[in-house]
């Protein structure tokens, strides 16, 4: 079956430092990977959509300078939160979809706490 792993599951970083999180697809080829954030007491927001061999598309309020994403192959993606501050706290999810696939498969998330 299709599985998505995320690492780390939880992380704490000091304000102003950076944090890298990873997303691994197993059992299918993740042609596109979407990264989402759920801030405390809020719903999930799309940060960016990455498709292999295409430019990464960032949503309004999110930039490559702040959330650089790497999607080097069909099984792996990573995102870094640069210069993290309190407002970057939350649960970060990656959702992966295969070519022609309909459903997004989600990982368990990386929970980021910023001190």
């Amino acid at each position: 079956g299709a599985l998505v792993y995320q690492y780390p599951r939880r992380t704490i970083c000091k304000s102003g430092t950076s944090m890298r999180m990873e997303c691994q697809a197993v059992g299918f080829q993740a042609t596109s990977v979407a990264w989402y954030r759920q801030s405390p007491q809020k719903t999930f927001e799309l940060i960016a959509l990455s498709t292999v061999n295409s430019a990464i598309k960032y949503e309004q309020n999110f930039t490559q300078e702040k959330f650089p994403i790497s999607h080097p192959n069909l099984s792996f993606s990573s995102m870094t939160v640069l210069n993290a501050y309190l407002e970057d706290r939350g649960l970060y999810l990656c959702g992966a979809r295969e070519t022609g696939g309909y459903e997004q498969y989600f990982g368990p998330g990386t929970r980021l706490t910023v001190l």
Partner: protein
């Protein structure tokens, strides 16, 4: 952009009762997924249903595409059903999901 409205915002049930959750969206959905988020935060995909009716276990989803609405019916609720149910829409195939605010369900014995 796409807007997703869920109702009710919260729901309290006694174990064994049924529940109906609603999702309305502003643009045509090329994909619609219902998710369950546990109190601990983890997200589980329940059903993918852009049109028609689908069943899985005690869950039934009915989506009426033309009316831009979907419902999730929980039958014979159990205390383990407690959590937040999220509806998410993709209105431009494979462009990423827009999530609703969710319905928080609490089931008591």
């Amino acid at each position: 952009g796409q807007q997703v409205q869920q109702s009710p915002a919260s729901l309290v049930l006694q174990e064994g009762e049924n529940a109906e959750l609603q999702c309305n969206f502003s643009s045509t959905a090329t994909q619609l997924q219902w998710f369950y988020q546990s109190p601990g935060g983890s997200l589980v995909s329940l059903l993918s249903n852009p049109s028609g009716t689908k069943h899985t276990g005690r869950l039934t989803s009915t989506t009426v595409t033309k009316e831009r609405r979907s419902s999730l019916h929980i039958s014979s609720s159990q205390t383990t059903d407690s959590g937040t149910y999220l509806c998410a829409i993709d209105d431009n195939y494979a462009q990423g999901l827009t999530f609703g605010l969710g319905t928080r369900v609490s089931v008591f014995p």
